[in-house]
């Protein structure tokens, strides 16, 4: 495959998998949290924590977090950790919004500032090459 075509393919695949990683993580965490809050504190024993996995919202959250794990692994097979980690941090912003608009949690001025800083950081890192300079995707 010519270098430019390969670069374009890599960029497209990186963006697609970044979107899957972020959305599955945000939706998975939201469902998991909703389920855990409905369930209450399950206790400290491993069996009690495993038992919590059978709650429908918790189970749906876990299923989406499995999608997150597999897509995250695929993304890391070619992209740098120091690229993937910050770029997927936009999920924290989406999580804060879902906490506000779905779960009705308050977002203070401090939290809005945090959301702004995280967004700025993500924008900065997303401008870099997903694969370390001088190396072809492994």
């Amino acid at each position: 495959m010519p270098a430019t075509s390969r670069d374009a393919n890599l960029r497209f695949r990186t963006r697609l998998f970044t979107a899957i990683v972020v959305l599955s993580n945000v939706a998975g965490n939201s469902l998991l949290t909703h389920g855990m809050q409905k369930l209450g504190d399950p206790g400290n024993t491993p069996l009690a924590l495993i038992g919590a996995l059978f709650h429908p919202f918790v189970a749906a959250g876990v299923a989406l977090l499995i999608v997150w794990t597999l897509s995250h692994m695929a993304l890391l097979s070619w992209a740098d950790l120091s690229y993937v980690m910050p770029v997927t941090a936009i999920g924290y912003v989406l999580t804060a919004f879902s906490g506000r608009f779905i779960l009705g949690e308050e977002i203070s001025v401090y939290r809005w500032t945090g959301i702004g800083l995280i967004t700025l950081g993500v924008m900065l890192v997303s401008r870099t090459n997903p694969v370390s300079a001088g190396e072809s995707p492994r």
Partner: protein, 120 residues
């Protein structure tokens, strides 16, 4: 208890991400997404020692997280896990030998600062 769980979450997530990245680079780029190819890749990955260590660390991270969200709001618990950005960026440079330019360092610092604010 809340801060102990945050510490456990950050340490386990950092270890999990670094070993996962190490394992996936060791495995090689995944660019064939047909079911058979995915099954073959998964068969190899379950035997990859870095991926095994990563999975164990992620399991600790996961159970710390669900325990944390049971006793704290999601908008506290989830952003707290972003405290991994600094140690992970350092380990990406030192252990994974990635090229971490100023944009990545600044981005990681901005996000870490964002976490401090978002957890207020």
């Amino acid at each position: 208890m809340k801060w102990f769980l945050v510490f456990l979450l950050v340490a386990a997530t950092t270890a999990g991400d670094v070993f996962r990245s190490m394992g996936m680079k060791h495995h090689g780029e995944i660019d064939d997404f047909r079911p058979g190819a995915i099954g073959k890749a998964l068969g190899l990955l379950v035997k990859n020692r870095y991926v095994i260590i990563s999975t164990l660390a992620m399991a600790v991270s996961f159970f710390s997280f669900i325990k944390l969200v049971a006793i704290a709001p999601m908008s506290f618990a989830v952003p707290m896990s972003a405290a991994t950005f600094i140690p992970e960026t350092i380990l990406a440079r030192v252990l994974l030998k990635e090229t971490v330019n100023w944009q990545r360092w600044t981005g990681a610092l901005l996000i870490a600062a964002g976490v401090v604010f978002i957890s207020q």
